[in-house]
Symmetry: C2
Subunit: 193 residues, 2 copies
């Protein structure tokens, strides 16, 4: 296949893929994850059912792809905040707050049964590991600046952050989320004793 042609095919595939994922996400957000059929998705995406099945075997697989795309976008945004200017401490605060707000909004605006359906996938475990790695590297930088307790490893503290900030999903307001970030950060400061 000539290179240009193969690129066109690849682009076409990608745009169909995107259209399917977008259509599914829209339907699921409107009606809940269990009420959507492959036929409706094909219709909403403007493709035939046979084509749809060439891309995905079932609704769950499409939802996984949608979720994976969301997660990748979030990770990218957090990596941007990590790489911005400022002290290690400022960057840690920015990243943890952004992550907590993501957890908060996900719980409030995501389709209802979705998290139970999705939070089992392998890519979720991979994304969590990427998050822990991102937190850990930043925490190590904060440690080098002497602004982190030194009796617990950055890796354990990263795991603590991931779980503690998950509490944002139950909180009623963004102010409460910011207080949660404060408490989480306070737990990791150098001990004065």
């Amino acid at each position: 296949m000539p290179k240009l042609w193969s690129r066109t095919v690849e682009e076409h595939r990608r745009s169909v893929h995107e259209a399917i994922v977008d259509a599914t996400w829209a339907l699921v957000t409107e009606r809940g994850a269990l009420a959507v059929t492959m036929s409706e998705i094909a219709e909403t995406a403007g493709i035939g059912r046979a084509t749809l099945y060439k891309y995905f075997p079932d609704v769950e697989a499409i939802l996984s792809a949608a979720h994976e795309r969301h997660v990748a976008a979030h990770l990218e945004r957090l990596a941007e905040l990590r790489d911005r200017g400022g002290t290690a401490n400022e960057r840690l605060e920015a990243v943890l707050e952004a992550y907590a707000l993501i957890a908060h909004n996900r719980a409030r605006h995501g389709p209802p049964e979705l998290s139970a359906l999705l939070h089992r996938g392998e890519h979720v475990a991979r994304a969590q590991q990427q998050l822990v790695d991102l937190f850990r590297d930043l925490l190590a930088d904060v440690g080098s600046a002497g602004q982190l307790r030194d009796d617990v490893s950055p890796n354990e503290l990263a795991n603590f952050c991931l779980h503690a900030l998950g509490a944002a999903s139950n909180l009623p307001s963004e102010d409460a989320v910011r207080r949660l970030v404060e408490v989480t950060l306070a737990g990791m400061r150098p001990s004065l004793r």
Copy 2:
């Protein structure tokens, strides 16, 4: 029905119920939650299949009952620690450490697919709320003793504890769990600024 007779029936029902739950737990721990059938459970419990179906419609329902029993036992133990002697602060430390160790051991020794199967049930939400209530009351006592930050409500701090200590499930050792409890407690101390 005479009272004595009805009590006997009730006791019999309860002991069959227990035998079923015990048998299921043993089988599931040995083989994983998805590999166990109702027939095997009936055989292990020493009852007929027809009797088994009078108690439970399927394996998942039995596992829910088993889980509910575990959770109730854990909550009871935590309530005991809460009601023991000592300062509010000491009791808080004891309760949080006990909870973190439960989370740690659950992840290590529970049957593998079980948590995905079970952690959707209504009784899990109820148990979580009971935990948050228990933490919150203790935290309020610690606050009255002036040993808690006063810019975040005991209820929000209780939610923080529940999630932060969930990190114990990923930790490699009980020492790491104790460090996690330390970090969690440090986040809630009165701020010095």
